[in-house]
Amino acid sequence: MGLTNADRGPAVDRTIAALNLVAHEDHLTVADLTRQLGVAKSSASDLVKSMVGERLLARQGRRLVLGELVPRIASGYAGNSRVLRRFAMAWDKYPILTQHTLSLQALIGLEVIYLDVRLGRHVLPHTPRAGIRVPALRDGVAAPMLQYIPPARVGQALDRFAGFQGNPDLAEQVRQWSASHYSGRDASAVVEPTPTGNDVLTAIVPTDSEQAAPISMAIHLPPNTPEPNAAELIDSLRKLASSLAR
């Protein structure tokens, strides 16, 4: 009963393809999906019906959009769905921040992963995007967020992913770096350079849960930006970070 192994592959492929098409194209209809997937109309209709039923897709009139299950799955990185949703809703309430590229990041063991990004007007040496992973520590240079996370929480994040990431030597290096460089603050005081070439200001998103991945928010600036108003930027960043935790 059910799908054979031969069936399962193409069905999964079509589902992922449908998700990608809906994610990146506006005003996609079932007819558009049929054409782009290169399948029969009935197959596309059945696929959409199944995906709508599973809340992977949703209908808005004739238009297809991503369903509510998608952000819920993505929220697994953050530990809860509210942080990502609130970031999307609240970032444009701080006008000084909307000019800049803003990223939301989580420490996933040995890596920092970008949960979401809002692009500003500056062209940056490195344009972050959601899903990108960068090493938390590489060649002795640490991701800026690491110095604002208490060493105990860094240790918890490392322990949680120890088996998955399987690099105990690097994990120990990260622990030692964290212990010796922790700033005691929850946010930048000045603009800091990073290995990607961007300068950043960082603020930790507060959380009461010890189990949640440490999350930070960063403003990305072109290097050597002439006299950025760091104090005002970090103040807005901290307020936004605090609002995500409520």
Partner: protein, 307 residues
Amino acid sequence: MLSLGADGSFWLGPHVLELGASFHRTSRGSLQIGLLIPNRSNQFYTALLHGVENRVAAASGELHWRQAADESGAQKRQWRELLDRGVDAILIDAVDSRDLRPLVDLSHERGVLVVAFGSRLDSVDASVTSDNVQAGLMAGQLLAQQARPARVAIVDGLRKNANADRVAGFKEVMGDHPQVEIVAHVYGEKDDRESGRAAAEALFSEAGEVGGIFAVCDPLALGVADHLANGSANIPVTSIDGRAEAVAQITSGGPIIGTAAQDPERIMDATMRTLERLFHGESASATQLLPVRMINRANAGSYQPWG
């Protein structure tokens, strides 16, 4: 979509985040508000729902409301269900104020704001209610002036802070009238008319002759008035709410002679403003008490009732 770990386990792959980010960019994500009310058939909540639905829609939010048919256990289950649904905030008028602390704490653990309205709750982010003590004071003052002989009874309802505050206010003003004696304090099973009738029957069995009755809300008072209509005694009743049917009795000569009016739409408006402030990280008063207004025969004609 999935990542394979060194130990052979799987975890979410980065593509999931790309899709999630795309969702939030296009949908913007709306504020998800959970609303818990004791009973949809109570006209207080009809008026209140109307206000909150408009307000949430205007803020591009999404409202998930549940009514508990005055069952405390049902309300607790609904609260959990809304938390599991991932709401950003819980607005609650509790069926029973007791034993809700674990759910308040659970909500806070999950980063969910909790605002109590209609009846205060311990340890929530904010409470917005009518000044229920003031309401009891006003209803008691009116009754003390009218009751004859000086034996009065209390018809109480659901075990929530709103009712407790109203009774406290009533008892406080009775202290200023030593000639008046509280001879009975009975409880309706729910805050509804049927419970008022049953409570009135129990009251007279318990206390015998009474000269005045205070009911904590208009539905109970209307039930008491129904019971009194079957007898011949002219026993005044005061109450709290300000709904239309009670006001109609006031203007037509009773048994209900006064009701301390609250404003459900104003309560919900203040609740939503408080929620918006809290959501945006602004400070908000932990407890807001909205004044009530005593409606009696003298001013009932100029009062616009709700319900």
